[in-house]
Symmetry: C2
Subunit: 316 residues, 2 copies
């Protein structure tokens, strides 16, 4: 297999590359793994070819994605708060570049597997607990762009241009690295920073509930979404809500205490803009469709914290 | 009001223009009515300014849609069979031109009311009877393009760039004029042609059920969708399934007989491609949301045939 990962220099790309190379690849062995990103990776994974490129530039995928390319993980995106603040940038990266990538794939000899990272942000007006068939009524630009991407991937798959699969990722907790412009960035910060003895700000109320998944589980699910055969997917439905767990901010703080962290490092400073975006996402989901296909959730917040300690803090 | 209708030289544009000028306009009187289309109208409506233009051309809306424009009816589209046969053309007209129109509107001083003609074709994989909240899983390019258009209209409305309203039109029966490349064209032809003593072909089985609305009811609903105040619409939901009636092809033929037409003029020649597209659309809908907002359906097939005889045949 030749695998291409967009947004591949970020933390998800890093972990995905590591995991893909560790498993060796399915259904065929991985022969080449290319990560495309606008920046160079902070920590390159040995064996990966890194290409610095703007995916919005014309011809960005020429010579990188060719007839040998069997698999594409399309992770690159402008995140939620940034897409909300800069409408044109969000549309350009999240919509136009996705479409350009699909058009590029359409011209290949054989349709590659195409894994599109969609998001829980697709849901805005929704019941507190979302079901597999809850209609998507997003209330932020990022969510709209992801939903349109899902429909494009579905249509290009129906046409046989790609073998597409869209996964709506829960909020990823605990993200390693630094806070970013995702509205949900705090959900990682309040654990990640405090577990390392650093101060942080929580911009939402303690009773806010979010739908989360650890980086390790997300990566396993992305790879599982890739490895499933095309006929495992229902007709006209190349998109799935991934399983996850519901936690309130208060429960995250309790988990932090159990892990020996100090909640006193958190300043509580509510931010209406962040509350509006994150508060519009569902607090939980019933995901029988994904369960039946073998996608997995984490056990609980303690397990998620353990994964972080093991994968991020103990390795250094 | 200054009103602009895209696809305005077609039969819907003709009837919409007539009706708008007859009612005079709401909430303000109509000062100017511009119909944009790639062709000149077969039958111009007095008082309408017709502009021949390709809506896909850069700057197509310059000087036509300006700060004075209060209302846009976006009817122009590549129809279902044609969009299925020519993917690029469908994407260009149904998606790119819609987005260019929305971008143009965004730059105006005040957000115009924007009525987007969507379609029952949004539904592909769906229960036989669709509800207001049935998720849309289209199985043809036309349907996908309309759904993406709905999400764009919704997002531009949420951002305050337009005051958008999307209406999913049932199959329109009886369309006047000639057969076109819509997969549903037969549904009008089997009545329209036979009522005028002409032979026609029916490409589907007698028991196929379709969800229909007369041109007169569609026009009334488009104008109602325009006239409703912005706050009549639910948050994050600028799209509605319009009411209609379910009829089988056999019931249409019975109606034809009751109206004095000769069913012997119909040749039954099944066409798999047309059956695949039309058969994937829902056979009926429950539409309480539209009912509550005051949208209306026709009474039955006999009433629909009467409307045709009255509006199309008796006037000549």
């Amino acid at each position: 297999m030749k695998v291409v990962v967009t947004g591949g220099a970020g933390f998800l790309g890093f972990k995905l590359s590591q995991a893909l190379l560790a498993t060796g690849g399915s259904p065929e062995p991985i022969r080449e793994l290319i990560c495309i990103d606008q920046t160079n990776p902070a920590e390159p994974v040995p064996g990966v070819t890194y290409v610095q490129a703007d995916i919005c530039a014309p011809g960005a995928f020429d010579r990188l994605i060719d007839g040998d390319t069997t698999s594409i993980f399309h992770l690159a995106a402008v995140v939620s708060s940034q897409a909300e603040a800069d409408f044109d940038l969000g549309m350009k990266v999240n919509l136009d570049a996705t479409r350009a990538l699909l058009e590029h794939c359409r011209k290949l000899d054989a349709p590659p597997r195409f894994i599109f990272a969609s998001s829980v942000a697709a849901f805005g007006v929704a019941p507190p607990i979302v079901d597999d068939d809850t209609p998507v009524r997003p209330l932020n630009s990022y969510g709209v762009e992801k939903v349109i991407g899902e429909y494009l991937v579905g249509e290009y798959a129906r046409r046989g241009f790609i073998d597409g699969r869209c996964l709506r990722l829960p909020t990823i907790v605990i993200r390693p690295g630094k806070p970013n412009k995702a509205a949900s960035s705090f959900a990682s910060s309040i654990l990640r920073e405090t577990l390392q003895g650093k101060k942080t700000v929580c911009p939402v109320a303690e009773d806010l509930a979010i739908w989360i998944q650890s980086p390790r589980a997300v990566i396993a699910n992305l790879i599982h979404g890739h490895d499933l055969p095309g006929d495992a997917w229902e007709e006209g439905l190349r998109v799935l809500n991934l399983p996850g767990i519901t936690v309130t901010v208060a429960e995250m703080v309790e988990g932090l205490e159990r892990a020996g962290g100090d909640p006193g490092l958190i300043s509580w400073e509510r931010d209406g803009a962040i509350e509006a975006i994150v508060g519009s996402w569902p607090r939980g989901m019933n995901t029988p469709r994904a369960g039946k296909l073998g996608f997995k959730a984490d056990e609980n917040i303690d397990a998620i914290i353990s994964v972080f300690l093991e994968d991020e803090l103990e390795k250094h």
